[in-house]
């Protein structure tokens, strides 16, 4: 299958991912104390979108999905309803943007996307920042020194 075909198929698959993610966010909004564990479902879907978008050469989609994944991880450990609300608000925007970007994947990065990315980065920083990442070289060193 060529790249265009793979992207088409991925966009179709995303329909299911987005549906699950939307249901999850709605459930969390209805029960902010009891359902915050469901952020992990959202995080898993964003992780899948991130990996596939990277692989298919859609880095702008992958970047938003990665930030959304990290914010969802923070949401799982949220100590207050204010944090839960902050996370869900940000994640709705991220999900909406990812859907728009996939449908209009040939269009250039817009100012709105940059605003969203900056907002997500600020939210993530306010929640303590993302997890420590490793590069390919770091992984090679870790494997060598095992």
């Amino acid at each position: 299958m060529n790249m265009a075909g793979s992207i088409e198929e991925f966009v179709d698959e995303l329909g299911g991912f987005a549906e699950t993610a939307e249901r999850t966010l709605s459930a969390i909004e209805k029960d902010q104390d009891g359902a915050k564990g469901m952020f992990s479902v959202f995080s898993d879907r964003m992780f899948a979108i991130k990996g596939t978008a990277r692989q298919l050469g859609l880095p702008h989609v992958a970047r938003i999905a990665e930030l959304a994944e990290e914010i969802a991880v923070k949401g799982t450990h949220a100590g207050t309803r204010a944090v839960v609300r902050k996370c869900t608000g940000c994640l709705w925007d991220a999900l909406t943007t990812i859907k728009v970007l996939l449908v209009n994947r040939d269009k250039e990065t817009t100012e709105e996307q940059e605003i969203l990315v900056n907002r997500m980065k600020k939210t993530l920083d306010a929640l303590g920042g993302g997890r420590e990442r490793v590069s390919t070289d770091d992984i090679a060193a870790l494997l060598k020194n095992r």
Partner: protein, 130 residues
């Protein structure tokens, strides 16, 4: 063993990823590639067919790639099976967990056809399989 005889099992829950990785492997000369979308299917497949290499994503259903790796490492007959994690998961603590569990190599997506070919050949050569 000839490259075309190496039996590879690809595990990824995203169909477009499975198709891409299988395509890359076939173009690199690995003709015997099978793919599944869940760890449950992977475990079932491992019981009925012998593989030389498993290439698995991290976050898959119903458990995950790390669970699959651990399952293989304690399996009485499959514990030496070569395992490469192919994933977008690059959080340091998780990479370390996979290394501790006995992963043979760890590749972070996006992965190119050249990189896939090089990694698979490197790992299989190191294990004396090709």
């Amino acid at each position: 063993m000839k490259q075309e005889d190496v039996r590879i099992l690809v595990v990824d829950d995203v169909n477009s990823m499975r198709v891409q990785i299988k395509d890359m492997l076939r173009k690199a000369g690995f003709k015997n590639v099978h793919s599944v979308s869940t760890t449950q299917e992977a475990k079932r497949q491992l019981e009925i067919e012998k593989f030389d290499l498993v290439m698995s994503d991290w976050r898959i259903e119903p458990t995950d790639g790390l669970d699959l790796l651990k399952y293989i490492r304690i399996h009485p007959e499959q514990n030496k099976l070569t395992f490469i994690m192919v994933t977008a998961e690059d959080a340091k603590d998780l990479v370390i967990q996979a290394i501790k569990a006995g992963v043979d190599d760890y590749v972070v997506k996006p992965v190119s056809p050249v990189q896939i070919q090089a990694k698979v050949i490197e790992v299989l050569t190191k294990k004396g399989l090709i």
